[in-house]
Amino acid sequence: MDFFVQQVVNGLTLGGVYALIALGYSLVYGVLKLLNFAHGDVYMVGAFIGFGVLTAFGGPASLAAPVPLVLLAMFVAAALGSGVLGVVIERFAYRPLRDATRIAPLITALGVSFFLQNAVLLLLGADVRTYDTSAFIPVTTAVDVGPLSISLVRILVIVAAAALMVALARLVGRTKLGRAMRAVAFDREAAQMMGVDIDRTIVATFFIGSALAGVAGVLVGLVFLQVSHLMGFIAGLKGFTAAVIGGIGSVPGAMLGGLLIGMAESFTAAYISSTFQNLIVFGILITVMLVRPVGLLGTPELNKV
């Protein structure tokens, strides 16, 4: 039973991270109808930025400042850095293609993703960086929930992810910017005619989505310790699988999808074998695509003839 609950916690942790990545995809897809393949690499850059901040403060074992401050700095730096990166990518790789075919920006995104991965490889080398979280957040610091003790780090991840998702939901649902995003997602031309500044809205969307991915990168570093230039690819893949499963363009959908995949991975790794994790997730994707192509919480796109 303990084992089971442990897997649930693992699933929630993973799910939270995937949900954050998936949210970025969903937001961007909503306003641009574009699957930003480079999103996963923006997440990877965020993880590296977090590592950089950690090192700047003296490294995991000898932090020069209180842990909460360092963590905050990591999150903020990653969010800002990834956010800016996302905005730059949009400006130079996607904006010129805004009126092109559906697949043109996708191919460009592929190119950007590949370029980013290799740029990081060039600049920072192939060595895997380790967050070595246990050096500054003792692993024994855990919260006891019943018979189970959940490590602080995982709680941090879950709480951070949940808080961000709630904040995002409020942003999209209640603020002017959120309204603008939804308007642009629904009908770009009409939104433009209603006075919505399309470019600014899109830039803001990219920033927010990428910032979320950056934070997710730091969270992953904290929990899973290892950060490498290749981590973006598979995480990105799962992130947008989560977005698609939940219903692309839908914020609650991204959360649900992320959770689903996180749980599926966690339980597969625990009860079957970790080698089959990706296969199972792929299977879920195919099943959802066949049974409910718009995603679990997605709305069908009305085809105007």
């Binding site: 897809y29 109808k33 574009l34 699957l35 730059v88 130079f92 790789a93 010129p96 293609l97 009126d99 092109a100 075919t101 559906r102 697949i103 043109a104 920006p105 996708l106 191919i107 460009t108 592929l110 190119g111 950007v112 993703s113 590949f114 370029f115 980013l116 991965q117 290799n118 740029a119 490889l121 060039l122 600049l123 690819f233 598979i234 893949l237 947008f240 699988t241 698609v244 692309i248 080698t275 990706n278 296969l279 997730v281 792929f282 994707l285 195919i286 695509m289 066949l290 192509p293 796109e301 085809n303 003839v305």
Partner: protein, 480 residues
Amino acid sequence: MPPIGVDEWVARSGERTEGHAGPLAPVLRRLERIPPWAWLAIAAGAAALFPLLTDSAFALRVGVNALLLAMLALGLNVVVGWAGLLDLGYIAFYGFGAYAFALVSSDQLGEDGVHLPAWISIPAIMVAAAVLGLLLGLPSRRLVGDYLAIVTLFFGQVFVELVVNLDRVRLPGADEPISLTGGPNGIPGVDPISVLGTEIITPRGYFYLLLVLTVLLMAGLHLLDRSRTGRAWRAVREDALAASFMTIPVNGVKLMAFAFGAAIAALAGSVFAAVQAGVFPQSFETPFLILIYAALILGGAGSIAGAVLGAVVVSVTLELLRDPDQASVLFYGVVLLTLVARLRPWKLLAAVLGATVALGLVTHGAAGAISPDLTAGEPALGGWTGGALDAWLVLPENAATAGNWAFVALVCGVLATTLLAPRLRPLAIVPLVYVAAFAWEARLVGQPAITRQLLLGALLVVMMTWRAHGLLGSRRVEVL
């Protein structure tokens, strides 16, 4: 932007019947009249001469790789260029063909292995790949292009994982697990292909085999393009919904494109396995997929000749990049060409070049005066060009870190320059060229593997944002 909604085409038809202007006009007009099959024969003939001109096994290998890439680009062209479907798992079919061929042409299966002759196994493998393509395409029925991209990308990833992990497969009734795919080490000892009784074992032999296959493929695809199937593919790409109202079964047509692409990839994969005399999972990972896409996009998606041309250019370029000397030639050559192509009139070009040279010499002089260490390094190029560069470029001995910074500065600089007003751009280009040369010599030239990947990624971005139809593709008008 081609004119829309105006009968300008009609107005210009006179211009067209008269032909081109300028001194090359008669030549160009003659060239236009040459039918496609004649072009193919000429190109094939020229290519056939290639192995006779060189004895280098290395050069022939490059040729073999170029032809394999050409076949893959041709297959991808059917799916992406004609039917407009973004298949990001395409290499999985290549891998499938390779592994399937390896399994039936080696000692991998059973006691002495299975050793089917190629003329039996390859068609069977192609059919199997087509079926696999159909299966993969089935979820694509209801999906828009983007969703298809994810499903196929994931499929490509899963394929490699499966292959790497299927080395301990427990068959019912067997005592021990068998290694189906050889795991991370792949399957060695794959038989060569035999044609009409002779085994092909030299690079030259495989070059000719692949040349024949490629030519046949090009001819077949050309005929297909002009047939009802080709029209249906293009109609589906243009407007799938309208196509369905015009009696075209959109889903069936898409599936057919998938199946065709898969079969072609599997064919290439089978020959690849024979050429390498083995298969290894590393050959089928995402970087190679990017390579195929780069070849197709560069050459021009939608064009048969474009796919082949792109493949040849990309293959040859990447080979050149392996050797620092040749790579440097290529690098500086491309930089110069870009400047020549983009800076008009001649005076401006000359001014920029002059300023760049001057900037370099001055900086070099100043740096040398500050400290000789700053210029102690040597450029990768040999000969007098290398010497000239040495006097022009500030290059310390171990400049890797500085090179990194220069690289970042280069990327930011290029992006920023695109934002500048055209009149100001030449001002920015001068220091940018210098920074580029520095980044190259200090860092990039020493990392050929990474540089080639960076180049491919950048190629995709630049092509799509600047000239999406590639070298030989035709410009497309899109109405969303």
